[in-house]
């Protein structure tokens, strides 16, 4: 997993994750999210795998997150109920 911190076109904080998020790197993922204050856009389009541990990190920060995903992750995000707690784009 690689994480890149930047800003999006609207100036919001943007963390772009690539690779796979699982039990082995959710700690790093969670720290990266915690380092950013305020609304945060998480770009998961480069992520091919997120497990429940990764989902826990997203749930913990759900209130301030806008998530950019791909259809590959759709079933997981929908099933977990994250779609009702966070703004998620890119599933359709």
């Amino acid at each position: 997993m690689t994480l890149t911190r930047s800003e999006d076109s609207q100036g919001r904080s943007l963390i772009t994750a690539k690779g796979e998020i699982d039990l082995s790197n959710t700690g790093a993922f969670a720290s990266a999210l915690a380092d950013v204050e305020g609304p945060l856009v998480v770009d998961l389009t480069g992520v091919t795998y997120v497990d429940s541990a990764g989902m826990s990190v997203l749930f913990a920060e759900a209130g301030r997150l806008e998530i950019i995903a791909t259809p590959l992750l759709g079933p997981l995000l929908e099933m977990s109920g994250l779609t009702s707690m966070a703004t998620i784009r890119g599933l359709e």
């Binding site: 039990l23 082995s24 795998y49 429940s52 590959l72 977990s80």
Partner: protein, 1402 residues
Amino acid sequence: MTSSDGIGHRQDEPGLADVFAGSGEIGRDLAAVDWAATPLGPPAGWPQSLQTAVSILLSSRFSMWMAWGPELTFFCNNAYRLNTLGRKYPWALGRPAAEVWAEIWGDIGPRVDSVLTTGRATWDEALLLFLERSGYPEESYHTFSYSPLRDESGAVAGMLCVVSEETERVIGERRMATLRDLGSNPSVARDEREVLASACDQLDRNRYDLPFTLTYLFDDGHARLAGSTGVKPEHPAAPAVLRDGEPVWPVGAARRGESTVVELGAAADLPTGPWPRPPAQALVAPLQRPGGTPHGFLVAGLNRHRPLDDGYRGFVELVAGHLAAGVAGARDFRAQQRRAEELAELDRAKTAFFSNISHEFRTPLTLIMGPVQELRDRLPPQDPQAAGELEVIHRNGLRLGKLVNTLLDFSRLEAGRMQASFQPVDLPAVTAELASVFRSAVEKAGLAFEIDCAALPAPVYVDLALWEKVVLNLLSNALKFTVDGAVGVSVRAGAGGAVVTVSDTGVGVPEHEMPRLFERFHRIEHSWSRSREGSGIGLALVQELVGLHGGTIRAESTEGVGTRFTIELPFGADHLPADAISREPVPPADTGIAAPYVQEALRWLPDPGQTPDELPRSTSAGAAPEVLATVLVADDNADMRGYLTRLLLRAGYEVRTVNDGVAALEAVRAQPPDLVVSDVMMPRMDGLSLVSALRADPRTMAVPVLLLSARAGQEASGEGLRAGADDYLVKPFAAADLLARVRANVDLARLRGRHARWRDALIDSLQEAFFVCDDQGTVVEINTAFTEILGYGPEGLPYPVPHPWWPDARTDPEECKQFTDAFEARSGRDRHGLTVPVTHRDGRRLWINAMMNPARDPDSGRTMTVGTFRDVTAEHHARRREIALAEMNMRLSRATSAADALTAALEQMERLWRAEHVLAVVFHRHSAPQVSGATSRLAWEELPEDRRAALTALSRNGALIPVLLDDGATAVTVEHPDGPMVLWLRLDSRHPFTAQDELLLALLAGHLTQGLARARQIDQQRETALALQRAILGPSHLPGGFAVRYEPAARLEVGGDWYDTFPLRDGRIGIVVGDCVGRGLPAAAVMGQLRSACRALLLQEIGPARALTALDQFAAGVPGALCTTVFCGVLDPATGRLVHSSAGHPPAILALADGTTQLLEGGRSIPLAVKLGLPRTEAQCVLPPRSTLLTYTDGLVERRTSSLTEGIEKAAHAVQEGCANGLEDLAGQIMEDLAPEGGYDDDVALLLYRHPAPLEVVFPAEAGELHGARTRLRAWLDQCGFSTSLAQRVLLAVGEASANAIEHAYRGVVRQGVRLRLETAGDRELLVTVADTGTWKTPNADPAERRGRGTAIMEKMMDAVAILPDPTGTTVTMQVMIPHDDAVDADQIRGLAGQVPHHGEG
């Protein structure tokens, strides 16, 4: 080895060392054979099968021999030694059979070969063999069967021959046939030449016993060839005329009545008959004539292949006897014919005379004399005139009667019919007494009567009645011609005889008349005589009568001085015919002869005196028969019965009397007399009916009958004779006439009886039972062999239907039907005979060959049946044995285990003996006895206690010896591989267990012993073979994705098919499936080599085509490897790429996920080593995801009833059908679906691969390992061709399960591994297993929410999830259905399976 060692040895291996023990001398002689020098080796090393065969052989009472091993080493038992082997014993034991029977090997060799090669028994009946057992090639006949003996492997290792020698029977029957034919020549040959020609015809038919014969008859001082067989008349050994002393044949010895054996030189160039060499000897047998020199002699060339024993000599002498009888008969016939002609001539000359005298004169005389007598009695005494006239009539009547009687005497003498009976008498006393009768007449004539009879030193034999006539005639003559002087009678002893003189002082006879003095009817004209009466026959009669006595008479006379007659009679009886002599001295009795003479003489005298009252009366001593004979008298008149009885008793017959014809018939049937004398007119049944009834019954047909009737005349007698009477007599009859006829008929019947006796003797000498039955089927005649064979004797005759020897319809309905069917068919001509069962009088079951033919009885015209029974019980049992043994062998050979073999054998035995119950109990060495039954299942404990004890005792008996138990059961002990086994049979009590059954049981038990040993061997071989097969067949560890099956053919547990998989570089896998030609161990050995070679070649990475090309070279050097088919492939399991090449192997089948199948037909070429140097091609394909590859050997698909294509289609269908199953299940399913009924009959090897192989990943339970595991999982899911979404679902579920294991399982303990396994179940389903070995602990550090979320994810992603916590670890199993449309691109998949030609370099 000490004796105790020997015993110990035996106990260890029962039946091994003592195979010859207990067999007497032959056992010792067999033990003495140097077996080590034979291919069989020492007996201790013999296989069980050989020992069993030898035990059966030695314990049998039937004649047997056997041969075993590569040289067919010879064994035989005692019966065979005695019956057949002769001088070859004990030399023959242990020698090659071809050497023992070298002289007949040409005959029996092919039969032995046939048995050895086909395993089928042969049967030969009465086969002619020339045996060299007695020092010469001996003609012998044997009925035998050869049956195969098998060794432990079931192969034919030898043969057993059960023999019965039938030489005696065959030769006996042949000789008997010749004698029978000689005796039964239907044409009554009358001429000597015809007789001999006919006899020679018969002799010529038996050149076996009589290669040639010569019949010589003696003629005036030389012998003349009168008949010959087998040799040409001009042959030097057959000169037409032979004189005494000529060297060719011993004429002199034959003339003396001696039989001679003549050694024939080799140079004689004699005919050989049917034999290859001419006779070495001839027997010269005289044609005996009773009481005279032989008629001639018979020269019989002798069969050099038979010994000249009593039987042979007797046969030749019987033939000679028959020829002699024939010659004598012909000569007698000729003599009789001549005599008959002469008698006929004589009769013609005298018939008129004698009939006039005897019949026309006597009858009126009787009618005159009777009334005259009555008149004399009634005449009143006051009429002397009438009395005188009556006296004249009476006297003349007497005179006439005397004349007639004299003439009758004379005619009898002439015809030789005078029946004299000479008795030893005191001649002086008898003569003096006779003379005294004349005393009164002589003295009344005024003459002196000088009687001077001195005692004699020896008796003189005279017939008293005839002697009376001699003396009375002479005295009468003397008185007649003597005027005065004296008449004298004297008896003196002379030289060797008595001298009787009667002299007178009468007128004398003129000298010129003397020569004609004794001439018949010649009357001398005397100057004086007391009477003119006289027939001129008296002296002629006297001379004849004296001659009859063997004496002489002469006369001396001087005219005017007197005449003297001198009779000389020899003493003793030597000069008299023996049959006319009665040794009993009989005192002189009264006769009626004297009266007329005296009456007549007194009449000549001037004053006739008183008629003498006491005249001697005749003893009509009829000639008694030589042998005591019985006459049955049938007459309703008691006086007549009494008269006939007295008459016949006095004549020396035994007499029985009955009142009528019915009683007569019963009496004759009860005990046939020698003659029946019957009145014609009788109540109940008259004489004519009696005759008819007697003639209609074969038993009484031959009894002669003499009918008596009051009716005279030709017509009456004709009626009697037509009815079948032998003679006919009209009442009143003369006693002498009756006696003469009785005698004649008795003698005639005896003569006729000779033929009947000859016939009876012939029939009785037949070895076959002979019988005659009438048109009702009633048996009316049997011979002695019949009684011997069936036990029923002639005393029980007649035997009406059903005959007592028929099988009982109630107990043996089947056998009864067999017999009655054969009997019903008896009216047809029957040339072959039928073998049917009969019951001996003692209840034994016999099998007979019945031959029945119709024959018309010439007397009654009824259709009779003439039949013979030959006892073929032994043959029947031999055949039954063969069939039973063949069946047992078949059953045993089909058995696949010892238990199976035993059940099959018990079933057969139960059926064979119709046994109520059959048991086999095996006495295990270390466990409880085990009971088996044919139909029932019983445990040892369920048997009655006494039977258990009996069976246990039997288990210690010697093997193969049947034992009859007290309760009627039969048992035999058999060597079972697990210990002694007792076979126990309870039989149907109506069918006793015979010696034949015992033999059969022993033989069956012997075969069973071998069969059990063989079956046990098969059991062991199978286990060994399976172990071997497993060892060499394939890898013990298969790569993932493979399933294999190996199924040997039904009976052969090891074979030439194989499969192989092995790893190559870069994770590739070598796949080989092959099929060697043949079955069993040899094929397996070839297979092992090819398998190793093929693997080695593929490991060199040269590719399938070149590997097979190289394997061609290798296979060419391995015997049996030619034509092996091989499928050879290299699979890359990562990509599914398969490069393959096939050497004549059936195409592999590829079942695709879309439900279609393909055959991998590329890269195919001819089988191995067929053509060397042929470049092989290979093809490649990529196995689409979730496709299944089936490689196999042709045993899976090849069926006799359908084509290979059909088989392959069926296999493809089976793979496709089973795609939804796990691979192991699929393999089992295919094997099951394609198995033919009764199991595979060829080896089958099967190898399945499903692409991709299941995924197995084990990684340490560390979060950092998850990524690596996921990468491998992704690759595998890609191989499976799943859609991205499905793959993602699987990834998520597996990831959650793995994360759980890492997070929870190993908290607080040393971390171990997590194991993943993913497997497609065909193309329908994916199975996932995630397992750890830790303890599932309740999570406390992490929020339960998240773990619950993980589980929720698994359940959402998968169709089914199960978490099974366990003390040893936790296993999570998950399943997900693969949607039908999930495939990435079906067309693309199919395209991948294309074939790429590739040329190998080899």
